[in-house]
Amino acid sequence: MKIAIASGKGGTGKTTIATNLALSRAEAGERITLADCDVEEPNCHIFLKPHIVSSEPVTVQKPEVIEDRCTGCGICGDVCEYNAIAVIKKKVLIFPELCHSCGACSLLCPENAIIETPRNVGIIEKGSTAKLSFVQGLLNIGELMSPTVIHTVRKAAGNNGHVIVDAPPGTSCPVIEAVKESDFVVLVTEPTPFGLYDLTLAVGMVRELGLPFAVAINRSDLGMSELTRYCDSEGIDIILEIPDDRRIAEAYSRGEMIIHALPEYRPLFDSCWTEVMRRHRLPLSKQKEEVL
């Protein structure tokens, strides 16, 4: 089973929940892979401390012009949806950072004057701890193409036991690439106005994608009833509530796992898992019914 841990707002506790859920399951004897898809700033390794065994570049294709064959017709510039090619005075200018590697230019060049060559955009690292398998991606600084690296991480995690994906924050392309093809999404939020507003956006996203989901509330006793009222009125289940315990923040700031530093919280993660297992088998229509 593939579970994605996502959120609208950043800093709600995705990494905390992803790592503690993954390790508590692994320590209970399940086969677990943690896939860190927050490729702009992967943090799971800080808590899980995996031993990395491989590191490979992630590349995208970029166009290159064979000057002798180019007639300056400008078709490549015309077909590029991303303005990555400009043809000026019969010369082809390529802007690789804008290229989305769709291949249209190369395919449609009447002179076969465009070839595609690989360009590094990030790296993917694989490893493990004593208990679980681990994959993370890291996007090169200055690059825009996080979805490509995220996709590579997801594919590398494969079907190696249960896969828990730590998604990036937000609701746009990188997040969608991270949560796609999941069997279940846990949306992490906090009981603050920002937490609630951003949650509504994240809910919109998972509904658009047709993915079963439930909510986890971090720092749950901060006391904002609007959040629980929202979930109630939308028919959204809350499957995990972590209280606002300063000791959790202290353990986190030392790079420690909550389930080790504060073992009394382990049952919360165990029951969260049970709730996910119960729900992911529900037909999609039940989730959609709640909307109507």
Partner: protein, 122 residues
């Protein structure tokens, strides 16, 4: 020769637009025929990527040889250079398109040899 000025409106009395890639209008002036034309840059105003490149291509297709504007980013600069379009900078004292033209004719506007800005999105 044809000159383009980035503008917030369609006429020569319009205030200049200091942006290039996402300028509202390009007002062109033909020094021989003295005709003024306005070309909308609507296509690029909301573009999240590649606005400068597209704007530069559009301006080049109009047969423009000189551009008067406030700022040019690195992608736009590269494209304008490839088109051999000379770029002149409008400082804060230039208000309308008409001002810009007068200052250019007087040789008052500095040319630029490098982009004035880093690239940016929307």
């Amino acid at each position: 020769m044809k000159i383009a000025i980035t503008s917030t409106g369609e006429g020569i009395q319009s205030k200049v637009d200091r942006s290039f890639g996402r300028a509202k209008w390009f007002v062109t002036f033909d020094t021989e025929t003295k005709t003024v034309e306005a070309h909308s840059n609507d296509q690029n105003i909301h573009a999240s990527h590649g606005a400068g490149i597209q704007a530069a291509q559009n301006v080049a297709h109009l047969g423009v040889e000189a551009l008067l504007t406030g700022n040019v980013g690195p992608n736009a600069f590269r494209t304008l250079q490839a088109a051999s379009i000379e770029i002149f900078l409008l400082d804060a004292t230039v208000e309308t398109v008409e001002d810009a033209l007068a200052r250019w004719e007087a040789g008052d506007l500095p040319g630029i040899g490098a982009p004035t800005r880093e690239g940016h999105w929307v």
